[in-house]
Structures are given as structure tokens and as C-alpha cells.
Symmetry: C3
Subunit: 387 residues, 3 copies
Amino acid sequence: MNQTSTSLTKALKILLTVAFLLLFAGIAGATELDHVVDVQKYNRAIHIMAMLLAGFGFLMVFVKKYGRSAVTATYLLVSVAIPLYILKDSLGILGGSGSEIDSLILAEFAAASLLICAGAPLGRLKMGQYIFLGLLFIPCYVFNEWLLLGNGFGLIPSGAFVDTGGSIVIHAFGAIFGLGVIMTMTTKEEIDLPVEADFTSDRFSLLGSMILWLFWPSFCAALVAPEAVPHTAINVILALSGATLATYFASISLRGKISAADIANAALAGGVAIGSVCDLASFPQAFIVGILAGALSTFGFAVLQSKVENLLKGIDTCGVMNLHGMPGLLGGLSAIFIVDGLNKGSQITGIGITIVVAALGGFVVGKIVAMLGRKKLSYDDIDEFEL
Amino acid sequence: MNQTSTSLTKALKILLTVAFLLLFAGIAGATELDHVVDVQKYNRAIHIMAMLLAGFGFLMVFVKKYGRSAVTATYLLVSVAIPLYILKDSLGILGGSGSEIDSLILAEFAAASLLICAGAPLGRLKMGQYIFLGLLFIPCYVFNEWLLLGNGFGLIPSGAFVDTGGSIVIHAFGAIFGLGVIMTMTTKEEIDLPVEADFTSDRFSLLGSMILWLFWPSFCAALVAPEAVPHTAINVILALSGATLATYFASISLRGKISAADIANAALAGGVAIGSVCDLASFPQAFIVGILAGALSTFGFAVLQSKVENLLKGIDTCGVMNLHGMPGLLGGLSAIFIVDGLNKGSQITGIGITIVVAALGGFVVGKIVAMLGRKKLSYDDIDEFEL
Amino acid sequence: MNQTSTSLTKALKILLTVAFLLLFAGIAGATELDHVVDVQKYNRAIHIMAMLLAGFGFLMVFVKKYGRSAVTATYLLVSVAIPLYILKDSLGILGGSGSEIDSLILAEFAAASLLICAGAPLGRLKMGQYIFLGLLFIPCYVFNEWLLLGNGFGLIPSGAFVDTGGSIVIHAFGAIFGLGVIMTMTTKEEIDLPVEADFTSDRFSLLGSMILWLFWPSFCAALVAPEAVPHTAINVILALSGATLATYFASISLRGKISAADIANAALAGGVAIGSVCDLASFPQAFIVGILAGALSTFGFAVLQSKVENLLKGIDTCGVMNLHGMPGLLGGLSAIFIVDGLNKGSQITGIGITIVVAALGGFVVGKIVAMLGRKKLSYDDIDEFEL
């Protein structure tokens, strides 16, 4: 019996050793897998960076004499927004994001919203004023993000506001903020000054548009769990395809001819609008949201824009209200019809808060930015660049 | 003994618990790893999307007055092809792809083939006709794909046709289909009308070319297992490098000077031709296939194109026969020399089927598309776009 | 007791079986995870390819009449460098990299250094001379890489030279080599010939710049372990942001107006300089390194370049000394202040070796390349391209 007991004890010791080794291997594997998942987020972060610089930057190159400035402004806005947001996050102000890679992606989202905002007064700010705009915009953005997603002031329960791809927090916020800014940052002369494109500036703008379109799935799926990435990606592509087709038909119906600006911009409205429910919609729902967004956005460019500009006495250079404002609101509201068990009150409250914070913030920031003076020649590189 | 037995039983219980926990952890880890592998496919899907839009789209911007149209047509073709293929796949028509991410990648392959096809009649179709072309092309593509890869009608055993990166199924099919279309979609006036580029349209076209070149490894490795991705990628890059060098030497030899169109196009022929065996070739084989493809393609652009156009009484605007047709066939045939244990009969049968289905399909679809009328001004945005 | 023993033995057998199965599953999982990590390196390799072709290629399109040539030269240089380096690595000459994907990334690093070098004499070489330059440059690059990182001649202990993202090995080496080349490859007429940009060539150049900027994190993190990728990426982005802001302020301070060339180039100096310590610096250190690099680079473009060119009696077309040379040296030296426990002697020795090998190599290779003749019309496509 002693012998049996001893041999059994030995066998158990071996087994326990094996089990512990396996346990450690398992833990190690799991940890390494977490790092791998973070690197996949990193890949999507790079895709978003392509959208911020080459995408937004070149979409705005459509202003024919303002290409060097549009690209330089994009560079400066991104270079202000990302370090500033990462600093805030490192200091844990209004909540920290927990991991370095999440912090980077949230910083890119803030930069995207800032670029959208800057599209409204584009061409009427001196280069230094874009930097100043960035420094003032980011705190407002962080405040609204905290109210909607961080349970700020206890207004909206954590997780109750549905906005995975940022239709409201990023797009609508940036666009409405921009509308606030232009109420101050448009002179009387600029009201009547046409914003002109030419054949080459149109081609650059269409290139920027395509770069935005193709990386958009990574924008919406940036923080989504690995198992949800493929479905989210297809939803975004279907929404963009729907918007692209709708834009073509709406453009030719409303104008008689196709407008390159409609194609470059409104085709992207599907990406804006699917943001809120990009991981939750079914394929047909995503396609329909895209069609509605493309049609709405084209209607905005072709019909509404001049009316809104008269109302606000300000020029929305890139038409951000049509591309990001209305389709963003459409996306936020679409959650009410698409998401089962949604806290509808929180969704509507969040949208309302965003409209108020963005409009007020934009109006005040516009007043402050205006104190730094006015650009001499609107929509032209010539007064600020060596030629 | 009872005591011993009891303590042993306890130890065994603990061990079994540990073992079960490890087992579950193992399964969970494996499943999560599968999702991670799918997200890696997603990354390659985004790279392919860059090729479809910014790549193909801007390669076709070389037509100097047709840039807005080329980009818009690209947008519309992609927006028709991908939803349509995903719908087919969701409904399980002629086989389904099993996973959402595979479905997306196969849809992108279909869109690539359609864009190749549309490159042949480019500039002579009204914008709406591109949409119509897409709606008719995709069913033909799906049918051919099913015959070659889905054991359709039992003609080719599953897995017998070797075409990992689509030299035959995607490139040759699209190009030959396009040649069928142009037999109808070229008027007598258009036969003598030069397709002109200028300095800026050339630079945009070279940009599109580079975007195609650099993402090509992801096109070929899209559905390849993780362990085969690095070898496949290097093969594709070696083939593209070989083609690029061969194109330079062939262009200067055949023309006396370098043609920017040769560089923009024939440099890519290595990617087309290595498709069939991209995961199976050795490095030297890949480099040689690339050199042959680049030389053949340049010979096509410099010497054959005008002869083929006279024969078909149609204009191949982008020279898809030279870039995708001949190099695609070269790639499909190269498998016979490179792949050990290849079912040569099936390989040749598959190539033959593709030629017949594509040529017939293209000819019939061209006739149908022609019923929708003719573009007023060939190779010019002006009759369809607001300027 | 026999019964007990038997049942115990059975239980043990089951446990051992489970344990072995788990063990195999663990090993299998780990292996598959290794492949997945390689595919993540592959993704970064594609990002680097975007930098080499669309990035470097289009940054060099700023020369207004030389766009077709700049892009074609980029194609040829990459197509020479990558196969040549992979051949060297396959043959194990001066050390092999162990895995296929590492080999590809190291080949891309070599190609990057070659493109930097070629930026110095850009526009004054015949197309065939770029190929020849590539064939002569790569062996020199490999030799220096072996001395610094491969313990060549036992000069520097393995791992002692800190240069993760290649500030010295890639950037400074390429730039100084290029300065060597231009001492021969500049004629007296070319000394006084202005290198001109125009509005469209500037916009293409800014596009190339942005593509370099946005993919730079993947360049620096290419070979970094998964857990270090996010921190490295943020460091690179902070350095680039710092450089971009510093470039704007330095450009306007030194010139009175903004120079598009400063923005397109010096904004990238942060990426060059952070290379050496990209994975080791803290966020504030990275931001400061970027600011210094951007200011130094702009000072180079605005003030130093003409003095250096007079000294060397050669024209540095792309200003590679300002973008890659000085910021690269700054990066290599920054390790002395930032990296704890650095072998300072080895770091300084490595920098010294690089300067000597690059300067000598460049001077000799320039003499050899000059034997192939001179381009007829500098900075113009016209003598080599069909128009």
C-alpha cells in the first residue's frame, strides 16, 4: 500500500506539474492574444489616420486656389487635437480610456470631429486661427463626450446612449459646432463670394472622398470586439453603397446633371448615418439607412444649403451640415427604430444635449477666434504661402 | 486506506477541475483566435477596397477630360457589385461562402472583375449604363465562378482549379468580357477618336497604379491561411518588381522612349499573372513570371492593341486585354509548369470555360447595354457633369 | 485495494490523456498565434510599401515637369532594392533575418534608404542610372547594417546600437550617401538651375507627405513586439505632431510666409528623429524630440541648404540632408539622453561608422554612376518620356 501510495503520489506530482505548466501557458497565451487584439485596433487606428489626413485633407482641396492651405490646416488641426486629447486622457480628466490604443482611437475621433467643424469656416481663417480653433474645440468635444458616454452629471446612464461609430458624438457635434463658428466667421463680402472648384481640384477632392469611403469600416469598427468586426464592416460598406447610388440618382434628379461635389460628399453620408447602429443593424437595414442618408445629403447640398446660409448669415464652405449634420442626426435617430430594448429617452436626451453644447460652443468659440483678426484673401493661398 | 483513498479522490477532483478549466480556456482561446484571424482577413478586405476605389478609379483618370466620370463610374460599379454579390451569397444562390468576411472578400473580387470589364468601354457609356452593366455582369461572373470553383455542373472537381489570386476567374474573365462589350459599344466615329492623356491625368493615373501595386499582396493573400501569408506576399512583390523592371526595358526598346501608360499599367501585370500560383510558386519562379508578364503586357500596349482593336472593331480604352487578359491567361497556364500534381485537364478546361462564358456574356451584355442609348460626347465629362 | 488501484489508474490515464490533449492544443494554439503575429507584421509591411511608393514617390512629384519620371524612378528603385535584399537574405550573406516576413520588412527598410539617397540627385539622373544606383547602393547599405546591427567585424556588440525605427541606419545613411552622390552628379549648369514646383505639383507632394506621415507608426513599429506597438505608435504620432506644429511656426518665422515645401517635408522630421528611441521614449520625450526635429529641419530648408550646396558643389534636389540627414543624426544622438543604461560608446561609434561608410560609399558610387553619362534636360520628363 505504501508503494502504491508513493507511486500514486509521484503520478499526481507529475500531473500537477503538467497542469500548472498548462495553466501558465494558458494565461500567457491569453495575454499575448490580448496584445494581438490591441495591434488589430492599432491597424484600424492607422486607417482612421488615413481618413483624417489624406481623406479629410484632400476632400477639402476642392477649393481651387486654397489647396496648400487646406492640407496645411488639416496637418495642424490633427497635430493639435491628438496630443491634446492624449494629454487629457493621460491625466484622467473627465475619465480615462484605460488602454493606450483606446486612447489613441478616441483622440482620432476628436480630431475627426474637429476637422468636420473646420470644414464649415474653411478658407476664411488664417492658418494660426485653425490652431486656436483646435485648442478651444477639443475641451468642448470632451465635455459633450463625457455627458453622453461617461455618465457626466449622471444625465445618461453608462452604455445607454447608442453611437458606436459616432454619428452624433463625432459627426453631428462637429457639424453643428461649425455652424456656430461661421455665424461669426463670415464677413458680408464673403456671403456673396463664390467658393469655386476646378477640374483638378475636383479630382483631388474625389480622391479624398474615396480614401474616406474605403477606410470608413475601420472608423466604425475601431473599438468593436473582434467577433463583431466583419458584420460591422459589411454594414458600413452596404450603407456607403446605398448612399453612393442614392446620391447619383438624387443629384441627377435635383440638378439635371451630376455634381462632382455631390458625389464626393453625399456618397459618404451612408458612413456618417450608419455610425450609431453600425454593429447592431441587419444588412437590409444598413443598406436602407445608407440610401436615406445619401438622398437627404444630396437634397441638402442641392436645395437646403443656400437657405441655411441665408438664415445663419454664414457660409458653410464644405457643406458639413449636409454631409455630417443631417446624416449624423438621422443616424442617431435611426437607433430608435433599429435597436431592440433601446433606452429611447436617453438616446433623445443625448442628441438634444449634443445640439445644445455644439451650437453654443461653436457660437462662443467663433466669437473668440474672430478676435485674432481676419484672413486678407478668402479661399486663396496667396496671402499666407510662398508661391 | 480509506483515508488514502479519500485524499486521492480529493486530489483527483481538484485535478479534474483544473483540467476542465484549462480545456474551456483552450476552447475559448481557439474561438477568439478564429475571430482574430477573421479580423486579419478584414484588414486585407480593406486593402482590396483601396485597390477598387483609389486604385482602379484613379488608374482610369488618365483620360484627360473624363476624370470626374471615371471616378463616379468606379463608385457606382463598386456600389452595385458588392451589395449584389453579398445578397446572392446570403441567399445561398450557386453556393454560399460560409462566413461573412469571406463573403465580403468574394464580393470585392467580383467588383474587381467588373471594374476590369468596364475599363474596356470606358468613356463611351453614359453613367447610368455603368450601373446597368454591373447588374448584368455580376450574374455572369457568379456563374463562371461556380463552374470553376464550385463544381458547377460537375465539370471541374472541387479544388482542382488552381487560381488563388484570380488570374483567370477575376482578371481574364473581366478583360475578355470587356472585349465582348466593346464590339457593340464602339461607334464608327469613336474608332478614330484618340483617347488622350495629359501631364496631370498621367500623374493621377500613376498614383492609382501605385495604390494597386502596393496593396496587391493583400488581394492575392486575401483568403490564404495565416501561415502562408508572408510567402504569398513576397511572391507577389517579386512578381510585381519583375514586371516593373521588364516594363521599363520593354517600353524603351519597343518605343524608343518610355510611355507613362506602359509604366502605370504593365508594371501591374506581374500581380495579375502571379495570381494563380501566388501561394505555390518559389521566389525565383515568382520573379520570372513577373518578368514575362511585364514584357508581354508592354508588348500588348505597344504593338498588339491597335491590331486587336481593328479586328474587333472596338476600342479597349484602358487596354484591359494587355493588362488583365493576356497576363491573366499567362498566370492560369503557368500553374501547369509550377504546381506539382496539378490536374492539368481541369486547369485547361477551366481556362477554356472562362474564355467562352466571358466572350459570349460580354457580347450579349454589350448588345443589351447599347439599347439604353449612346453617350453624346465620348471621353468627356461635359455632357453629364455640372462644371 | 486492487479495485481502488485499478479505478485510480483509470482515472489517471484519463487525466493524462486530457493533459496531453491540452498540451498539444496549447502548442498548436501558440504556433497559430505566432503565424497571426507574423500576419500583423505583414500588415505593417504593406503600410511601409504605401510609404515607399505613394509616399516617397509623390513627395518627389513636387518637381513640376518631372512627375512621370519621379514616379517611374520610385517604381524602379523599389523593384531593384527589394528583390536584391531578399536574395542576399535568402543566401545568408552578412546574416539572414530568420523569417520571411522579417526579411521583407528589412528589404523595405533598404528600399526606403535608397529612395532617400535618390532624392538628392533627383532629376539629374537618366532613368537607367537610378537602376544602377540601386544595384550599387544596396551592398553598401547591407554592409553598414551588418556593422551596426549584426556585430560586423565585432565593432559593436549585438543589440548595443539603439535604432529601432532606423534614424541612423536608414535615414542618416541614405541622406549622407545621397550627398556623396551629388558631389559628382551635379553639373555646373545645374548649380544655377532652379528646381521649380507649381500649384499642382505641390498638391501631389503634400499628398505624398501625408501618406508618409500617417503610415510612419508602422515603419517604426514594424519589427516591435505586439505589446510594444501601441506605445510606439503614439510616440511616433506625438513626434510627428510636434514636428508639424514646429514646422509651421519655424517656416513663418524664418521666411515671413509659409512654404509648402517646408510643410510637406519638415513635418515628417519628427518621424525621422523619433526612430532610434520610438519604443523607449515617454510621451513627453517623443513630443519634444518631434518639436526639435521639425524646427531643425525647417532651419535646414530655409537657411542651411544653399550653404551646404555651395560647399559640396552639388544640388540636393529634395533636401534630404534637412529631412533625413540632420533629424536622423538628432534621433541617433537623442538615445544618449533618453535610453537608460545605453552603451554610449557603441551608440556614438555606430553613428560615426554610418557617416563614414555613407559619405565614402556615396562619393565612389556617384563617380561610377556618372560613367553612364548625363541626362540631357534636368528636372524634365521630356527627353525620356513619350508625351
